[in-house]
Every structure is written in C-alpha cells, then in structure tokens.
Symmetry: C2
DNA sequence: TGATTTTTGTTCATCGTTGTACTTTATTGT
DNA sequence: ACAATAAAGTACAACGATGAACAAAAATCA
C-alpha cells in the first residue's frame, strides 16, 4: 500500500526495456509495410532467412530457432510451399521428418527481402556506432540465453522482494 | 544476382537487431508465464501501467501510446471493465470520448504485476551496467522516433543502394 | 445556421499464434 | 520380437491484432 517505493518508470533498466519493446513493435510494422510488394510478412522472412543459412533443416529445428510452436510451422510452411518459395522433402532415414529447401524463386525473394530489411535496420541504427551495436548484441544475446534456460526450468516464484 | 555482397548476418547492426528481436519475443513469453496467476497478459499490463501513470486518458490516446489500433482497445477495455480492473466514464464536454480510470482492484493488480515485471527485467539485465542500459534506452528511443515519423510519412522506395 | 469534414469509438471479417489432442514413425526396455 | 514411450508433424478451436466500414458527436467553414 506504501507508494514511496520507486516507480518502475524511474528505473533505468525498466525504461530501457520499454524503449526496446516499442522499437521492436515499430520495426515489425515498418518491415511489414516494406515487404508488402513481395507478398511476404516478417514471419515468412524469418523462415526464409533461416532456410537460406541452414538448408535442409527440419520443421522442428526451424521452430526451435524461431522460438515458435511446431504447429505454427505446420500452418505457414504449406502456404509457402504452395507459393513456390520452399520445398518440403521427406527424410529418407526418418520418415517422420520433413526437410526444408528454398526453391530458386524462394532464394531470389529471400535475397531481395534481406536487402530491404538490412536497409531498414541500417537506417534506424545509422546514428548508433558499430561498437555500440556490438555491445547491444552482446547484452541481448545474454538476455536470450537467460530466458531460454528459464523457459525450460521455470524460476522459483519466491523471487519477489 | 552476385553473391559476394556481405551476407546480412555478418553485419553488426543486423546481428544486434536479430538479438534484440529474439530477446523481446522471449521476454514477452516469460512475462506471460509470470503473470498467469494474476489472470492478465502483457497487453493488459501495458494498459494498466499507462492508466496508472495517466489516469483519465481517453481510449484514443491510450491506443496511440501503445502503438496499436483503436479497435484493439475497443476489444480489450470492455473485458477489463467486466473484470473490475478499470472503469470507463464518458467525458462531460465531449460526448464522443470515454475516459479511463483504474479501480481499487485494478490499482492493486497493477502494482503487483509491475513488481513482477520489474523483477524479471532486473534479472535479465543484471549483468548489464546501468550506464549501458541508459545508452540502450537512448538508442532505442531514437529508433522509435525515426520509425514513428516514417510511419506517417512513408519512406521513398528508392532508398536502397 | 446549415453542410461538410474530422474525430471517437464500435463492429466485423480476416489473419497469425498458441496449446491441445491426435496420427504416424522411432526408440527404448524387457 | 513386443510393448511402452518419445518424437515429428497435423488439425482444430481459442484468442489477440488488424483494417475497413460504420454511427455518433464535434469542429470547420461557407
């Protein structure tokens, strides 16, 4: 009931996180608009980029990399297969898994979309020096690591003070 | 068509942005789990926090602060009113606008949820010095500013180089 | 004043994401 | 070899977010 605890928005870490979240939200919206003429959306681009880097990956592995559920992949990938962007071929040794490959069209679209995305990121971070970007990457990757391990081993609820 | 352009994931700004996006995604998921016993989700908390700071705000203003559409508020706010967290009262001078207020229950839930969120943020950024957090806040707030102005005045499409 | 335009909020159809239940195929244990 | 368990992918219902079309209430302007 006492209000003289410092309010969260005066807290530097809280403030910085709010800014990060808002930036992500807006970046997603801007990227959506920037990709509209390619007829793909950010989730599709995430998939394409990962297939570009890791050709032959399975749906499960892809879902893990993207931090989404497997059912999500089961919805998106058939769409993208119908659009001729990707191809799904069954693994010979394990008949459960479907391995994913880019088509020529998919590779072309991916390159164009990555160019657009890179330009957008470069523009928004043009006043942020490279060393600062690298520092941000280090800190954010540590956050990712912590949250991933917390995900599989939920934190004890007595963390409040 | 030429492949000897540097691939995006070797680009420091690109790498740092990927990390930021993943961190946001995971933070959202962790926060969702951390709030489950309060029966609210991150979007509700965003609303509550803004009402805590800016009592008597209108739905329109709230939507603008949260960077979502007005229709989104029209879906969420009646739910929260039914749960007894907020109250909507018509403005006397402008009969179009509904002004939003926290109930006692809403204020209580907000304080508890903010405590949880702050603890989560503190934990994930505990190895990131305060000065670095402040630097991140500065850079991300600039990104937000750029993207907001780009939103209403879409960038000329000849920006690629 | 009276007509046009803006603004605020709602409704609705659509889409993406999630979690659960389910099928099929591998793996493990006896 | 056979049964039980685990893993990969799918189907489906539920929910949140969006944008477009709409109604009501200002504001603008002639």
């Amino acid at each position: 009931m006492n209000k003289n605890q410092p309010l969260p928005w005066d807290h530097p870490r809280f403030r910085s996180w709010v800014a990060v979240a808002r930036a992500c939200q807006l970046m997603q919206q801007s990227l959506t608009r920037a990709l509209v003429h390619l007829d793909i959306k950010p989730p599709h681009l995430d998939i394409l980029v990962n297939l570009f880097r890791f050709e032959g990956i399975s749906q499960q592995e892809l879902a893990r990399k993207l931090l989404v559920g497997r059912s999500n992949m089961s919805m998106l990938l058939p769409q993208m297969e119908n659009r001729g962007l990707i191809e799904r071929r069954g693994d010979k040794q394990d008949k459960r898994v479907l391995r994913l490959y880019l088509t020529e069209e998919g590779r072309r679209v991916t390159e164009e979309a990555m160019t657009i995305q890179t330009a957008l990121i470069d523009w928004t971070l043009s006043d942020t020096p490279i060393e600062e970007c690298e520092a941000i990457a280090v800190h954010m990757e540590r956050v990712v690591g912590l949250l991933i391990q917390e995900e599989r081993q939920p934190l004890e609820p007595a963390g409040d003070q």
